[in-house]
């Protein structure tokens, strides 16, 4: 592994097709591909438009796009400070084991630290043992008592 080969940069509009492709690859791995409806326009609106609030970082390995992290601000009423919520962290299968996921995660954490944020949070599927191990090794802990509830728009 040579860290020198890993390069993290802000996503640009030209990356949108690749961003969607990686969102779908992650969804497929999570066995949730049938749930994905995102369009190029959706990504443009939330990450590049005037009302952008979603941040996307792209990982390159030897000049090739190999992963991404998609995140946005959240807020804790306990800590009283903003934090980051990571929606997607993905590394393409051929590029795993090179420290790319860790580099992407660390970049988000570094930005949280620079902004004096209070937390970084994300969700993981309970059967994704390798991801859970990876997150614990970085110092994160599971909120086992908490259950996420979701209301979808057909119930609005």
């Amino acid at each position: 592994m040579n860290k020198e080969n890993i390069f993290i940069r802000e996503a640009e509009e030209k990356d949108i097709p690749e961003i969607i492709s990686m969102i779908k690859e992650l969804a497929k791995y999570e066995k949730l591909l049938h749930k994905v409806k995102i369009s190029e326009e959706n990504v443009k609106n939330v990450a590049f438009g005037n009302n952008k609030f979603v941040e996307i970082l792209i990982a390159e390995f030897q000049q090739k796009v190999c992963g991404q992290v998609i995140f946005f601000k959240n807020f804790s009423t306990f800590v009283g400070k903003p934090g980051y919520y990571i929606e997607d962290l993905y590394v393409k299968p051929d590029y795993r084991g090179k420290g790319i996921g860790k580099t992407l995660l660390n970049e988000v954490i570094k930005r949280a630290k620079e902004k004096n944020f209070g937390r970084v949070e994300w969700a993981v599927l309970d059967w994704n043992v390798s991801a859970i191990e990876f997150y614990k090794n970085r110092g994160a802990f599971p909120l086992n008592e908490w259950i996420i509830f979701r209301l979808e728009e057909d119930k609005f």
Copy 2:
């Protein structure tokens, strides 16, 4: 119960002491009061300053503040649209059973619908059976397979 007596309004800066007080009451109910560090300045920064991104609605019953909901935008890479994440939903003990919590929740859902958002989400403690029942009755479902991971700032 008389719904006419329930009034929902945007929080104002003058509400900040009451907002913090209700955040602490909720934390106490969740047995997490020792975790609460939020200050008046924190609330001002995130909900009323130039960089505000947190929304707070106040419930009044017969002109008295009796509850609040604190929420902010999130984003789903599956749906491709923003949604709302509810950080706190709280009704003071003396005012429970009057439909105030439901009115607050419905107001957030109404706003999500108006903005064409994709989801409303929140987290609940697994022993809070009455809240879970309340949320299921409104059409929400638990994401039982997902575990929230948290990295706190001492690990940044």
